[in-house]
Amino acid sequence: MNFENILEIPPYSLNKEDKEKLLNDRLIKLTKFHKENCPEYSRILDSIDFKVDSIKSYKDLPFLPVRLFKELELKSVDKSEIVKTMTSSGTTGQAVSKIFLDRTTSSNQQKAMVKIVSSFTGSSRMPMIIIDCPSVVKNRMMFSARGAGILGFSMFGSKKIYALDDDMKLDVDAMRDFLLKYKGQKILLFGFTFMIWQHFYKELIRLEKEGVKFDLSNGIMIHGGGWKKLVNEAVSPEEFHQRLNNVCGLDSIHDYYGMVEQTGCIYMQCECGHLHASIFSDIITRRPIDFSECDFNEKGIIQVLSTIPESYPGHSLITEDEGIILGEDDCPCGRKGKYFKITGRMKNAELRGCSDTYAAKFK
């Protein structure tokens, strides 16, 4: 099965058995492909004595730690084929991941994302408010996670505005004009969780005190990037939703989980508050002690698998996030596949322990 075939299947339509068949086929093929085309990846598989031909389930495939993309430049196509390099966000001085995309992988990322997101927003494009500043997509050679997210979601916008200026101040007049112009239409709002809280929500609260109020009850908000930075503010996802609803009437709010190492395969939050795996990807939670698979409702380290990556060996990765798989195929929202929640990030000490365990596996 190639990726074109997978794209024809509605993204939340397969039950466990059919999805496993699809993933086994595609992910084992990708493993073979990367072994043949990425020398570093091949060496890693050799070092753990991994024989891809003896594998029956995608669950037994090796997983690379996401940090490896900070240390190695991993690609499975010739340098001349690379059209885009994406980087993870990192604070200054920190090493960043580098993900190399060729035309096929880049286009498949967009196609998968369109399938996933339109199953939540509908297929028509909407006027869109990007809750960020325009300069974030200016450095075109190196895409940050933020820039890549904005560009990816821009496809769903018809007319677009950036709500913040380059000093991260809310452009109140531009917002007002935009909302007036598209009054009565469904509006898409997109941004990163922390940015929305810091530069949008807080400003709306301040404006409310001055008697300025925006009505976004027609809006659908998609936000991602994680809750890490909001820990200090002690804001829970439920409270985030509730408070935004109070200040501007926004009710359709969807968080998503995703990472630059597997762009395209995002995990959208449904109406019941659960993050969902689409047919393009899967998640497995693992016990830190021996990397065995957790049961449902048991907290573990998250492994992500994606059917997309062809230009770099990123189809099976172990993240630094912890989560809990809540169930499979039976979310009340009707979508098939696993649904889960993120509980946090592994602490550094644990991480070190974890990479030691991982390194030990490689010996």
Binding site: S106, S118, R140, L151, M155
Partner: protein, 78 residues
């Protein structure tokens, strides 16, 4: 201005290139036509012909020639 002239103008103005570079031009073929340039080009075409492209067509719009084919779906004859 004919539709073809308008179409060409969206490319030359958005991507900052000259008309003789248009034949055979592909998405990701030049540095200006990257994913940022692509969204700019789509908006320019939509404004010029007063249409709204489907997301699938935005993704399929992979070359100068392909764009002409796509525009036919929106009743824009070049």
């Amino acid at each position: 201005m004919t539709n073809l002239e308008k179409y060409n103008k969206t490319f030359t103005e958005t991507l900052g290139i000259s008309e003789d570079e248009l034949q055979g031009l592909e998405y990701q073929g030049i540095s200006q036509w990257d994913s940022v340039g692509h969204m700019g080009l789509v908006s320019a075409i939509e404004d010029e012909f007063d249409i709204m492209m489907d997301t699938d067509d935005i993704i399929d719009f992979s070359s100068y020639e392909k764009g002409k084919e796509i525009l036919k779906k929106y009743d824009v004859e070049l």
